[in-house]
């Protein structure tokens, strides 16, 4: 499958020493890898679906 963004600059900013020790649990890598397997349009659609779900819930609570 075509992988967009292979040309993204590889420079990753170094963590600041005064930042809280928040780390990404690598057990959750499959979620990122799934997102990366999608096209940009598909990723946006996934985000839209999530927003739609929450919007529907909020509307139901108002009625």
């Amino acid at each position: 499958m075509a992988r967009p963004y292979l040309s993204i600059p590889t420079a990753s900013p170094s963590p600041r020493s005064d930042e809280p020790q928040q780390v990404w649990e690598q057990d959750d890598d499959p979620l990122i890898l799934w997102m990366l397997s999608l096209t940009p349009a598909e990723r946006l659609a996934a985000a839209q679906g999530f927003a739609d779900s929450l919007w529907r819930i909020s509307r139901e609570r108002e009625t």
Binding site: Y5, S12, P13, Q22, L44, Q48, W55
Partner: protein, 165 residues
């Protein structure tokens, strides 16, 4: 919540009106693979570009944009406001649109432009998107707690995206 967020429709309106902008924030990160959530669209514009400001104003009028005002006043964007205010939090018929003139350490449109790529979010809809590395940098510089909370997943996304396949 106000109107249902419709990210693509806001972007489409801007593009169809010839507005030059850079997509930043949560949607920009999502489009590059970050599994984060967001309910608004964030863009950066050059407020000194009057012609672009006029096109933006037309786009905003077409989607019924008004300022998010806690007092409930109906305040609308104007050419003067677009040229002078640094942040515009707008409610539109397609959800919330945040228009910024700078992010991070006062990084503005001209500086950010070199860290963007054009990406089609739909057929015939190219959007200029800030690179994930620059999004990470801006969040580090902003230093807000919610920005810092997002950094681990953004960094990991960038790392995995850049791994050799």
């Amino acid at each position: 919540m106000n109107a249902r967020p419709e990210f693509l429709e806001i972007a489409r309106c801007l593009v169809e009106n010839g507005v030059e902008f850079i997509l930043v924030g949560g949607v920009a990160a999502i489009v590059q693979g970050a599994p984060v959530s967001t309910f608004d669209l964030d863009i950066v514009i050059d407020p000194t570009d009057a012609a672009n400001g006029a096109r933006l104003l037309g786009a905003l009028q077409s989607i019924d944009a008004r300022y998010l005002d806690l007092a409930g006043r109906d305040l609308r964007p104007t050419a003067e406001r677009l040229a002078t205010l640094k942040i515009h939090r707008l409610v539109t018929k397609f959800g919330v649109l945040d228009i910024l003139t700078a992010i991070g350490n006062d990084r503005r449109y001209t500086e950010l432009h070199g860290q963007t790529s054009l990406t089609a979010l739909a057929p015939g809809l190219p959007i200029r998107i800030l690179h994930l590395s620059a999004i990470i940098q801006s969040k580090e510089e902003a230093g807000r707690e919610k920005d810092r909370a997002a950094l681990p997943v953004l960094r990991r996304t960038l790392e995995l995206a850049n791994r050799p396949h």
